[in-house]
């Protein structure tokens, strides 16, 4: 076992080392991992409460239908049944939700409520809710509900949605257009007219979904005696749901407590509002007893948000030297029958069409985005929102151009990336970049992967009929969002976070913070940051997250904001507490606090490092003998701080990925041989955790590139709603992933950290698409559709039919 010193790695005593990071940057292990390894996780799906009832839902089997008959009487007397609810029972308890953001001008979406009232809008739309002593009995009782539906023609796919003759996907809509936007720089036509080369392609990106191993889970419990609603909810964003439950059910928010204990994967999927969770809350308000809903796997496929269905036509204009002059992108992004709440289903397309060409010195751009309604389950934000689409389109067009101009793929990127000394600057689509490191990252990747040797090996193998390919993909990632993301659009989604840090009476440290943990290591990273402000070991810092009653309010964990925003919040709170401890210590020691410092769990003389007073003594005096402090000295050992990002609206990060693959032209199978990532997330707080975020993210990007797709028939029926039919990446198919770092800290914060959680997913698919196409290039085949299944590869090779 690797030994990690318990206390000894605080800053050395020499010089002005007081604020020098000692644990920031160390691969500190996760304390909370030990519980999981012992089978002592605490997931919402594990919870049992006294008198708890289990929910099951009757769902529309049709993608679009009018409810003709709904009779639940027989189900009420089925064994074990406690209650059966329809829209008439539950919807009046809940204010409608309507998805919108003011800065998406012209966006439309219709009001929604818990259970379908007159019409069902997707196959899986809940119509009735049964509550029983067990989930099995609740499911049995569903069989007794009489539901007759008049099938209506569903809207499925882009062509149908754009056809003015197609009835809208939901009542109240005038068309199937949710949102349209166009970005255009002045010189885009001239750039295309003057180009030495224009490359173009049509892309189809398959709809896929998060497939968290723990499905969505909620236990809602209303106590009418106290008026308190307690919701244990497997989510990333407890405060967002506290606000939603309070507002939509008419409760004061301090009477709503949302607790998110261990969460078995989230990836953005568990921060959206779902009918079933709202139903659980409504049901406990009716029944006055705990209501549990845990999705089974089929329900997960039918009702979890899906993501990233895009149909893109794109062109890239280049000069004779391979410099990108412009891109012209037309993206049709079909979502569900309404936009997801509270973040909208538009953000995905908005980021996809704004991130096109983002790593490069591209001056001119035209992008058109059409977000369309259809009768499938809602789509919305999922890890790396929009990034994989922008990256795949940009990077595959660039490889096409490189081939046509006979420029090496690495060279064409080196020519085009924004130079490291050109910052600050902005993209053609208006994103502002503080400081990125594309050139250094490219150089580092070349060295890391042995690019030249790999090209030599590839050529030699080709001579023997082995088709291997190298794919590169440069990317930028949006992290650390401020209020520009949602707040300015009127959404009640916090851009700020809060922390309460205190010294315990025993001289240890507790930090309660609004950012949340889903296994990425948030609590460990926060402990490291706090430890360095107080001169203690991270193991001396207990971190509490995921409870709206126990932590200050904040945005929590999404869009890669945990380290950059949560970390800075913890840093500021830690520094405030350090000042307070030193003030008390100065009073006790009759010394100027400026001559004291915190190191090794003690108050020390700042100049010599000599021990003056253990922290435990500060805790004891301030707690039990405040009477011994000089008059006027504040004995508080608890501080609270909130932090909202300012400066740049987003903290962009950058990196480059490379894939090394082998394609078997006889079977169409792709073997992933190796993958490399060089990434710059600013200050690295914990390299062990950062690398795991990158690796997991890469694999989550490789899945939809090769395997994952939610398949529908023409009637809007999901065809592969199980883990036997929907293919996820498994260990035997995944490559080893080599990671390198460049560190360019943001100057917007003291900590300097940016996000990293979505970097892997952003570019992995693009890299592997370029690699597959590189492997197939001698055979004249090229793919622009994901997932790149064996059947599609064979079809591209002219073998069989897709």
């Amino acid at each position: 076992m690797t030994a990690h010193p318990a206390i000894s790695t605080t800053a050395p005593d020499a010089g002005a080392a007081q604020d020098r990071p000692a644990h920031i940057g160390h691969p500190h292990r996760r304390q909370n991992a030990l519980r999981h390894l012992a089978g002592r996780g605490n997931f919402v799906s594990d919870m049992q409460l006294p008198r708890m009832v289990h929910a099951a839902f009757l769902r529309s089997p049709m993608a679009r239908a009018r409810i003709a008959t709904l009779d639940v009487e027989a189900a009420r007397s089925a064994p074990g049944v406690v209650a059966v609810f329809t829209a008439a029972d539950l919807n009046p308890l809940c204010a409608n939700w309507t998805s919108n953001l003011d800065h998406f001008s012209g966006m439309v979406s219709t009001p929604q409520n818990i259970l379908a009232e007159d019409e069902t809008l997707w196959a899986g739309h809940p119509v009735a809710m049964v509550l029983a002593r067990s989930r099995a009995e609740a499911e049995d009782a569903l069989e007794y509900i009489e539901l007759e539906l008049d099938e209506l023609p569903p809207v499925c796919g882009v062509e149908a949605a754009l056809d003015p003759g197609t009835a809208p996907a939901a009542p109240g809509l005038s068309s199937n257009l949710c949102y349209r936007n166009e970005l255009r720089t002045e010189g885009v036509e001239a750039a295309f007219a003057s180009a030495a080369l224009v490359v173009q392609a049509d892309y189809a990106f398959g709809r896929h979904t998060a497939v968290t191993l723990e499905p969505r889970a909620i236990v809602a419990d209303f106590d009418p005696a106290s008026g308190q609603l307690t919701v244990h909810h497997g989510t990333q964003t407890p405060f967002q749901f506290q606000d939603i439950y309070a507002r939509h059910f008419g409760l004061p928010d301090h009477k709503v407590r949302v607790v998110s204990p261990d969460v078995g994967g989230s990836f953005g999927m568990k921060l959206h509002l779902y009918n079933e969770e709202m139903a659980a809350v409504a049901a406990t308000l009716r029944l006055h007893r705990p209501v549990r809903f845990v999705a089974d796997r089929l329900e997960s496929f039918q009702t979890d948000i899906h993501a990233r269905e895009h149909h893109v036509k794109a062109r890239m204009a280049l000069d004779a030297d391979g410099m990108i002059l412009a891109m012209d992108v037309d993206d049709h992004a079909p979502i569900g029958a309404f936009s997801a709440y509270p973040r909208t289903s538009v953000v995905e397309g908005n980021q996809a069409f704004r991130l096109m060409g983002a790593p490069y010195r591209m001056r001119e751009y035209r992008g058109r985005l059409n977000v369309l309604f259809q009768n499938k389950v809602q789509t919305s934000q999922y890890r790396a929102v929009g990034h994989p689409i922008a990256c795949a389109v940009t990077e595959t067009l660039l490889d096409q151009a490189a081939a046509r101009l006979e420029i090496d793929p690495w060279d064409i990127r080196a020519r085009n990336v924004i130079p490291d000394d050109a910052y600050p600057c902005a993209s053609a689509t208006g994103y502002r970049f503080e400081k990125l490191s594309h050139q250094r990252s490219l150089e580092k990747l070349r060295e890391l992967m042995g690019y030249d040797a790999l090209r030599t090996e590839q050529a030699a193998l080709r001579g023997r009929g082995v088709y291997r390919g190298i794919g590169l993909a440069t990317f930028v990632e949006i992290t650390n969002p401020g209020a520009a993301f949602y707040g300015v659009g009127g959404a009640r989604i916090s851009a700020q976070d809060g922390a309460v840090v205190r010294l315990t009476p025993g001289g240890e440290v507790h930090c309660a913070i609004s950012v949340t943990e889903q296994g990425q290591g948030t609590e460990t990273m926060i402990a490291q940051v706090v430890a360095d402000q107080l001169g203690v070991s991270p193991d001396q810092v207990k971190v509490t997250t995921g409870d709206t009653d126990a932590t200050p309010s904040g945005g929590a964990t999404w869009a890669c904001r945990g380290a950059g925003i949560g970390g800075e919040t913890a840093l500021l709170a830690g520094r405030d507490l350090a000042r307070q401890i030193l003030t008390i210590a100065g009073a006790v020691l009759q010394a100027d606090p400026a001559t004291l410092a915190l190191r090794r769990g003690e108050v020390v003389d700042a100049a010599t490092g000599a021990a003056r007073l253990p922290l435990a003594e500060i805790g004891r005096i301030a707690t039990y003998r405040p009477d011994t402090l000089p008059a006027g000295v504040d004995n508080s050992l608890t501080v609270a701080r909130h932090f909202a990002p300012s400066g740049y609206p987003f903290g962009f990060t950058n990196g480059i990925q490379a894939a090394w693959v082998e394609v078997d032209p006889e079977t169409g199978l792709v073997r992933l041989l190796k993958h490399w990532v060089v990434e710059d997330c600013g200050r690295i707080i914990n390299p062990l955790l950062v690398d795991e975020q990158i690796r997991g993210g890469v694999v989550q990007g490789l899945g939809p590139a090769l395997f994952e797709e939610c398949l529908y028939d023409d009637d809007g029926q999901l065809l592969n709603g199980s883990l036997a039919d929907y293919l996820v990446p498994m260990a035997c198919e995944m490559p080893d992933i080599v990671i390198g770092h460049v560190e360019t800290p943001t100057e917007d914060t003291i900590l300097g950290a940016k996000g990293v959680g979505e970097a892997g997913t952003a570019a992995a698919g693009a890299a592997v698409m370029n690699a597959v196409n590189d492997a197939l290039s001698p055979l004249g085949a090229r793919l622009t559709q994901t997932p790149m299944t064996p059947a599609r590869i064979l079809a591209a090779l002219g073998i069989g039919q897709d």
Binding site: M1, T2, R29, R30, A33, L34, R35, H36, L37, A38, G39, R40, G41, F43, S45, D46, Q48, A136, A210, V211, T212, L213, E214, P215, D262, V263, G264, G265, S266, F267, D296, R297, Q518, G519, Q520, G521, L688, L689, E692, R695, G696, G697, V698, V699, Q700, S722, L723, A724, V728, P729, M730, A731, C732, M734, D736, I737, G760
Partner: protein
């Protein structure tokens, strides 16, 4: 109609009155409250519900509790308390071979069984052995590393004449 089922779980004799359709995974989780065994796909694909039934890993979601009547079952809780996988757990901790932790008990079962059957697996063999364990968080490499490190350490211990 309910039936009484008796078995030995983690060394403890248990008897419960259950519906015959109850799976072993639900029996362990809901009746015995051994919630370390997880349920992910309910069709034997994801490996989250793996437990040892008479010493061999089975999917708790595919075995009915009545089928385990009279048998000996070991869950992650029992395996952990026994100390049999302490080195494996330590290697997973060192390598951060888990994130959300939901797949981890199943990973432990697979890794434990693999190292019993094949003490020195190579990386490909480890990846193949894990082909029935789905993890959405880690990308698998750290899990492979942790199992390989455990195999190496056990081999070194054997070579040094130490007890495993």
């Amino acid at each position: 109609m309910k039936v009484t089922v008796e078995m030995v779980v983690n060394g403890e004799e248990v008897a419960e009155l259950i519906e015959p359709r109850m799976t072993l995974a639900d029996f362990l989780r809901d009746r015995l409250r051994l919630t370390g065994t997880h349920v992910g796909c309910e069709m034997g694909v994801c490996g989250a519900c793996l437990v040892m039934l008479d010493g061999k890993p089975v999917h708790g979601c595919l075995v009915l509790a009545v089928q385990a009547a009279g048998a000996t079952v070991q869950t992650i809780e029992g395996l952990s308390e026994s100390g049999a996988i302490a080195d494996l757990q330590a290697a997973f901790h060192d390598r951060n071979a888990l994130q959300c932790g939901y797949c981890t008990p199943g990973m432990m079962m697979t890794a434990h069984r693999l190292l019993q059957e094949q003490p020195r697996p190579d990386r490909t063999e480890i990846r193949t052995a894990l082909s029935g364990n789905y993890c959405r968080c880690t990308g698998y490499e750290a899990i492979v590393d942790a199992i390989a490190a455990t195999a190496d350490a056990r081999a070194a211990s054997r070579a040094a004449g130490g007890a495993e």
